[in-house]
C-alpha cells in the first residue's frame, strides 16, 4: 500500500487566505490544460509582435519612435533574462553585468566596423551576412569572458562577489575607452554591420538599416521582431535548464550553498555555468544593440546601466523569468513614455524633465519596493521538475476530490 494518509489536524477552518491578482492569474493559468495554454499564448505573442504596427494611442510614445523603444525593450528583456539566471536563480549578485553586454557589442563592432583594425567584412565575413556570422562568435567570446571572470571570483560570496563584478564592469568600459588603436576610444566604432535584407528602392539598405524610417515597419520594428524571436528561444532554453538538475542546483545554491554542497551539488561548477550562461545571454543582447544602433561607444556601457538591469530584475521579481521581462519593459518604457509629453490626462507635466530624472525615480521605486515588496512585483514560483506536472495534476485532483468538487469523489463523504 503506497497511499499516503492524512493526519487529522485542522479541527477548525483557517481564515480565508488573501490572494492577490497575480496569484489568481497564476492559479488560473497553471490549472489550464496544455492546449488551452498554447491557444492563449500564441495569440498573445502575436499581439505583442503586432504592437509596433497597431501603435495603440495610449501606449505609443511621443518623444521617440515606438518601434525603437520596443527594440530597446527587447534588448533589455534579454539582459534581464540573462541577469536573472545569475542573480535570481543562482543568487550570485553580479553588478558588472553591463560588461558582458559591452563585450558582445564590441565583438561585433570590432569584427564588422570599418573603423576597427580587425574588420573582417571584406575577408571571411560576407558583407551581407556579417552581423549574423558575428553573432555566434560574439556569444562565444562573452561566454569565455564569463568563464574568465567567474573562475577566480566565484570562490567569493555575497558582497565580495558583487564588488569584484562591479570592478569587472568598469574594467571592460575603461578598456574600450583607452585602447584607442583598437576600439577607437571615445570616438567609438561606427558603421557596424547589420543584416542586408529586404532591399527596395525606398529602403536602399534593407529593413534593418537605421535609414529605414518608413512607418510603421521602420528598422526599430524589425529589430524588435528579431529580439522577440530571440527572447522566445532563450526562454525555452532557460526554462529547460530551470526544470532540470541544473536549475535545481542553482536554487539550492541560492537557498543554502553549504547544504547544497553537502547534498552532492558541485556548487562551483554550477555557479560557473550560471555565470557563463548569463554572460552569453548578455552578449547576445549586446550583439542586437550593435546591429540596431550600428555604433558602439564606451558611455553606453556605464556601470549605472548595470544598476538599471539589476533594477529590472528586482522590480520584475528575482527568479521569475517572465516577471523580469515585465521589469525590463517598465525600465525601458516609462522614461520613454514621459519623453516629449507635455500633459498627462489633462494635467500639464514636463515629461522631458521626468525622463531625465529616471535614475532618481527608479532609485526611489527600488527603495519603496525593498520596504513593501522585497520579492518584486511578480515573485517567483519556480517549477523545478521536468515531469513535476504529473505530481501537481494528481495532487490537484486529489484536492478537488477531498473538497467534494469532483463527481468521481464520494458525494456522501463530501457533505
Amino acid at each position: 500500500m503506497t497511499t499516503t494518509r492524512i493526519a487529522e489536524t485542522a479541527p477548525t477552518a483557517p481564515p480565508a487566505p488573501h490572494l492577490g491578482a497575480g496569484d489568481r492569474l497564476r492559479l488560473w493559468w497553471s490549472a489550464l490544460p496544455r492546449p488551452y495554454q498554447w491557444g492563449i499564448g500564441v495569440p498573445f505573442i502575436a499581439l505583442l509582435a503586432a504592437l509596433p504596427i497597431l501603435r495603440p494611442p495610449i501606449l505609443t510614445t511621443q518623444g521617440t519612435d515606438f518601434g525603437g523603444v520596443l527594440a530597446q525593450f527587447g534588448m533589455y528583456a534579454l539582459l534581464a533574462i540573462g541577469l536573472n539566471v545569475v542573480v535570481g536563480q543562482a543568487g550570485l549578485l553580479d553588478l558588472g553585468y553591463v560588461g558582458f553586454y559591452a563585450i558582445g557589442a564590441y565583438t561585433v563592432g570590432l569584427l564588422t566596423s570599418p573603423d576597427s583594425p580587425w574588420n573582417q567584412t571584406d575577408t571571411w565575413l560576407s558583407r551581407h551576412w556579417a552581423w549574423v556570422f558575428a553573432l555566434p562568435i560574439a556569444i562565444a567570446v562573452t561566454a569565455v569572458s564569463g568563464l574568465i571572470l567567474g573562475t577566480p571570483t566565484l570562490r567569493l560570496r555575497g558582497d565580495y562577489l558583487a564588488i569584484v563584478t562591479l570592478g569587472f564592469g568598469e574594467i571592460v568600459r575603461l578598456l574600450a575607452d583607452n585602447l584607442q588603436n583598437i576600439t577607437g576610444g571615445g570616438r567609438g566604432l561606427s558603421g557596424i554591420a547589420f543584416p542586408l535584407v529586404g532591399q527596395t528602392p525606398t529602403r536602399t539598405k534593407g529593413v534593418f538599416s537605421a535609414g529605414n524610417t518608413h512607418l510603421p515597419l521602420n528598422f526599430g520594428t524589425w529589430w524588435y521582431w528579431v529580439s522577440l524571436a530571440l527572447i522566445i528561444v532563450v526562454l525555452l532554453f532557460v526554462g529547460n535548464l530551470e526544470r532540470s538538475r541544473v536549475g535545481r542546483a542553482w536554487v539550492a545554491i541560492r537557498e543554502d550553498e553549504d547544504a547544497a554542497e553537502i547534498m552532492g551539488v558541485p556548487t562551483f561548477k554550477f555557479k560557473l555555468w550560471a555565470f557563463l550562461i548569463g554572460a552569453s545571454i548578455g552578449g547576445l543582447s549586446g550583439v542586437l544593440y550593435a546591429g540596431q544602433v550600428q555604433f558602439v561607444s564606451p558611455p553606453t556601457f556605464n556601470v549605472i546601466n548595470s544598476m538599471l538591469f539589476l533594477c529590472a530584475v528586482i522590480v520584475g521579481g528575482q527568479g521569475n523569468k517572465l516577471g523580469v521581462i515585465l521589469g525590463a519593459f517598465i525600465i525601458v518604457y516609462l522614461p520613454n513614455f514621459f519623453l516629449g509629453r507635455s500633459d498627462l490626462f489633462g494635467i500639464p507635466i514636463d515629461g522631458n524633465a521626468i525622463a531625465d530624472y529616471k535614475y532618481l525615480f527608479f532609485g526611489l521605486a527600488l527603495m519603496t519596493l525593498m520596504i513593501f515588496r522585497p520579492q518584486g512585483l511578480f515573485p517567483a514560483r519556480q517549477k523545478l521538475l521536468s515531469y513535476g506536472r504529473e505530481v501537481y495534476v494528481v495532487a490537484r485532483r486529489a484536492a478537488l476530490a477531498a473538497a467534494g468538487r469532483l463527481p468521481a469523489a464520494d458525494e456522501d463523504g463530501a457533505r
Binding site: G388, E390, A402
Partner: protein, 332 residues
C-alpha cells in the same frame, strides 16, 4: 490501492464545511503556501497516480534502497576514524579520536554538550579537514576529497538545525538529493537529452517513493518552509537518503520532538537500517539512543571515553561521571 478520498471515512475527514471560495481556488492549484499550515489542503496523493511504476510496493522498496556497490562486508568497518585530532587555534575539539562504524549497524555517538560530536561529524563529512589522523570510508581515506564528492562516495547527513531549501517544495528538496547520482549537465538539460529525461523520471519516482517512506508523501507539493517542524526533520532524512548513501549520519534528529514523535522516529531509523543502510546517530535523548542503537561511542572533551553495546555503556562509571558529574566525596 486506495485513494484517500475514495474512502468515505477519509473523505469526511478531509472535507471542511467552512472552506471558502478562496480555499477552493488554492486547493485547485495546490499552491498551498498561501494557507497557514494546519489548514492546508490535507490531500492524499496516490503514488500510483503520479507514476504507474510506483503502484508496485516492491518497486518502491527498490527505489528507496537501491543496490549500492559497497566494498565493505556486512559487519566490517565501513568508516574508521583513525586518531582524528581537530584543533581550532588553541582549542582541541577532538583529541585522537578513533572508532569505527560497522556496515549494517546503528551507531550512537553521544556525549555532553561541547564534547565534540558535531565536530566529529563535520570531520567525517568533509566540512573540516582533520588537523591530524584520517577518516577512512569504505576502504578509501577521505583526504582532500571535496565535500560534494564525499556525498557521492556515500556519506549523507542531516543537520542539527534544519537546513532545507526552504523555497523549494518537499519533492524538489528530495530531488536535489537524487541529483547527486545524476550526471546531466547544462548541454543535456538544454536540449533535453535522453539521459536527462530518464534521470528526471527517476528523480520523480525516487523522490515520491522516499517521501512516502519517511511518511510525508502527502506533503510533496508543499514548500519546505511551510511544513510542520516534524515533517521538516523527516524531509531532511528523505533528502539525505536520496543521495543513495552507504552511511547515513543523523545529527540530533529528535531535537524538539515529543515522546510520540520520538517513538515514530525510532521506528523510522530501524526501518532505514533494515533497508540496508548503516546509520550514525548523534543524539541527546538517552532513551532514544539506548533504544535504537546497536553500539554507542561516548565522547567527552574531545576524547572517546567509552565504546560498546548500550547496556554496557550506560553502566560505565566514566560515562555516568561525564553525564552526572562526580560526587565531591568521590574525588576527595
Amino acid at each position: 490501492m486506495s485513494i484517500g478520498p475514495n474512502d468515505p471515512q477519509a473523505g469526511a475527514e478531509h472535507t471542511d464545511q467552512h472552506l471558502g471560495a478562496e480555499e477552493y481556488l488554492t486547493q485547485d492549484s495546490v499552491e498551498e503556501e498561501f494557507l497557514p499550515d494546519g489548514g492546508v489542503a490535507q490531500v492524499a496523493v496516490d503514488l500510483a497516480d503520479v507514476d504507474p511504476v510506483l503502484a508496485d510496493p516492491e518497486a518502491v522498496a527498490q527505489l528507496v534502497a537501491p543496490d549500492r556497490r559497497i566494498r565493505t562486508e556486512v559487519g566490517a568497518a565501513l568508516l574508521r576514524m583513525e586518531a582524528v585530532t581537530m584543533r581550532f587555534g588553541g582549542l582541541v575539539a577532538l583529541d585522537g579520536v578513533s572508532f569505527e562504524i560497522r556496515r549494517g549497524e546503528i551507531l550512537g555517538l553521544i556525549g555532553p554538550n561541547g564534547a565534540g560530536k558535531t565536530t566529529c561529524f563535520n570531520a567525517m563529512t568533509g566540512v573540516y579537514r582533520p588537523t591530524s589522523g584520517q577518516v577512512v570510508f569504505d576502504g578509501r581515506p577521505l583526504g582532500a576529497i571535496k565535500r560534494n564528492q564525499i556525498t557521492r562516495l556515500g556519506i549523507a547527513r542531516t543537520f542539527q538545525n534544519i537546513r532545507l531549501f526552504s523555497d523549494m517544495t518537499a519533492l524538489e528538496n528530495v530531488v536535489v538529493g537524487t541529483d547527486a547520482r545524476h550526471r546531466t549537465s547544462v548541454p543535456g538539460a538544454l536540449f533535453r537529452s535522453r539521459r536527462h529525461r530518464t534521470e528526471e523520471q527517476d528523480a520523480l519516482e525516487r523522490g515520491m517513493a522516499l517521501l512516502e517512506f519517511v511518511g510525508i508523501g502527502r506533503r510533496a507539493t508543499q514548500k519546505a518552509r511551510n511544513l510542520p517542524y516534524g515533517d521538516q526533520r523527516r524531509l531532511e532524512i528523505a533528502r539525505a537518503l536520496a543521495t543513495e548513501p552507504k552511511l547515513l549520519c543523523l545529527d540530533e534528529p529528535a531535537a524538539g520532538f515529543n515522546p510520540t514523535e520520538k517513538a515514530e522516529l525510532q521506528d523510522l531509523i530501524r526501518k532505514i537500517r533494515d533497508d540496508g543502510y548503516t546509520v550514525l546517530l548523534i543524539e541527546h535523548d538517552m532513551r532514544l539512543v539506548m533504544g535504537v542503537t546497536d553500539r554507542v561511542v561516548v565522547l567527552e572533551f574531545g576524547r572517546k571515553i567509552a565504546d560498546g553495546v548500550p547496556a554496557e555503556v550506560s553502566s560505565d562509571p566514566a560515562v555516568i561521571a561525564a553525564y552526572l558529574g562526580v560526587p565531591d566525596d568521590a574525588t576527595a
